[in-house]
Amino acid sequence: MGYNWNWGVLLQPVATGEGATYIGWILHGLMLTAALTFSAWLLALLVGTCFGILRAWPSRLCDAIGATYVSLFRNVPLIVQFFIWFFVVPEVLPTAIGDWIKSITPSTQVFVVSVLALGFFTGARICEQVRAGIAALPDGQTQAAHALGLTLPQAFLLVRAVPLVMLLLWFFLIVPQILRTVFGLSPSVDIRLVSAMVAFVLLESAFFAEIIRAGILGLSKGQFHAAAALGMGRYQAMRYIILPQAFRAMLPIMMTQCIVIFQDTSLVYVISLGDFFRNTVSIGERDGTLVPMLLLAGAVYWVICSGLSGLVRALQKRTAT
């Protein structure tokens, strides 16, 4: 492979001096990741539960407030939210508070911003679970417990945002080496897009596998028995009886996952792939118009994603009957 791996660098001192090594730096980052994940998860649970209760409250206004929160924070990609919390929020707050925020040490500032962004983003998803949990209550305790139990996977959703960045970087570094070796490509061929695709496909297919598994397990044993009793083999039962039902039940979730992927694509920012988001930011940086550009990016994601969400809801209504 043409790449010059230099793991030794990990043990070398950081270029800025201060006596730290690169590995220490990475471990420090890992600690920060853990702290970030945990803090944001707590915040998400808290915020999500509050808004979820609001949404289930028998009052139009409360429901509308909750719905607005969910719509805003669910339909704008996480990384756009990071940028907005970081660059835009201090500007629009009253000058005194804005100045005070800017006076905090930068590292604390970034940490707080990250927790806020992750917390509110994931909170929007948890909110919906809580609402579903409350709505299901009259229909029986089990359903409610089940729906509330779903808040746990939300924690994974949160953790996931970090590994996806890792995956992207890994594939950006490793896949090109393999492809170049196997296909003898010249180093000038740009394969960032392929790297990104591989990372996304691997990650999302793992999710879909779980979704479909749940869909199949959700079918009663009776359907398997009925298919078998008619003389269908395993393959036939799967193909004609089980999967059509599982897919139908899972379609809304699969489409929702698709919206999540759409938002997560903005993470290719980290490998300098010029997607919509990165280019918008580049323009903002070049022209000194970062604030309006970030707001524009958020608005565009919101319009597209909430449109798609509306489609999913319509579909859900149709399959429910």
């Binding site: 009663s220 009776g222 359907q223 028995h225 009925a226 298919a227 078998a228 009793a229 008619l230 003389g231 269908m232 083999g233 036939q236 004609y240 009886i241 059509p244 039902q245 139908r248």
Partner: protein, 241 residues
């Protein structure tokens, strides 16, 4: 036609069936009854291999269903089964429910399968509902579709596992009427049911089960008039009250 020879079955370490032996001849109608949890469903599902057993043997037309050259799907398409909760395929229309296995398992062409299906729907009085989906039918109608679906495979034997116990009382008779007709045409039937009126009308024999064992097997008339075992007397007493 079907012979169970001292069959025992365990779910993990719980013994659900103990040494059960029953013989069902061609054209016979045998009723299985007994308290909840006595193993009726487990026993009847052994016959078409939906559940397996650990000791004993089951012969179908004189041949062990465990012998190497018996393929389970092949066996099952000869044995129809009707379930307590109907188990119609919700994503298929009534007609689709009746044709899918004919086409995919028996390889009948679409026209032939449809012709057969419509004939059977006529027979259970549901021709007008062919285009509907299962969720649009009443429980009694769904169960009649389920019976028609089994019959579409031209079975040699029919298994019924409490076919009317999930139905409202006013719908029970429409399902029993179809079953009586089947019995009178000479179908071999194994029925788990507590419908004693139905049993009296068509059953050749009654098998009474309790706690995984066959307690009593008897001629239908004799069983109802004078059950030999204490437990059967108890059970019948509760049923009639």
């Amino acid at each position: 036609m079907i012979e169970l020879k001292s069959v025992s079955k365990w779910y993990q370490d719980f013994q659900a069936l103990k040494d059960c032996s029953v013989t069902v001849g061609k054209g016979e109608v045998v009723i299985f009854c007994g308290p909840s949890g006595s193993g009726k469903s487990s026993l009847i599902k052994l016959v078409n291999g939906l559940e397996d057993f650990q000791s004993g043997d089951i012969l179908y037309k004189g041949k062990s269903i465990r012998s190497r050259d018996v393929r389970l799907p092949e066996l099952r398409r000869r044995i129809g089964m009707v379930f307590q909760h109907f188990e119609l395929f919700p994503h298929l229309s009534v007609l689709g429910n009746l044709t899918i296995a004919q086409q995919k398992v028996l390889k009948r062409d679409a026209a032939e399968a449809e012709h057969k299906a419509m004939g059977l729907l006529d027979r259970v009085g549901l021709r007008a509902h062919a285009g509907k989906y299962p969720s649009q039918l009443s429980g009694g109608q769904q169960q009649r579709v389920a019976i028609a679906r089994s019959l579409s495979m031209d079975p040699e034997v029919m298994l019924f596992d409490e076919p009317t116990s999930a139905l409202d009382p006013e719908m029970i008779n429409e399902v029993l009427a179809v079953m009586v007709e089947l019995a009178q045409e000479g179908m071999t039937m194994l029925c788990v049911t507590h419908e004693m009126g139905f049993a009296r009308q068509v059953a050749d024999r009654v098998v009474f089960m309790d706690a995984g064992s066959i307690v009593e097997t008897g001629d239908c008339a004799a069983f109802f008039v004078a059950p030999r075992s204490e437990r059967a007397r108890d059970f019948l007493g509760k049923l009639l009250r």
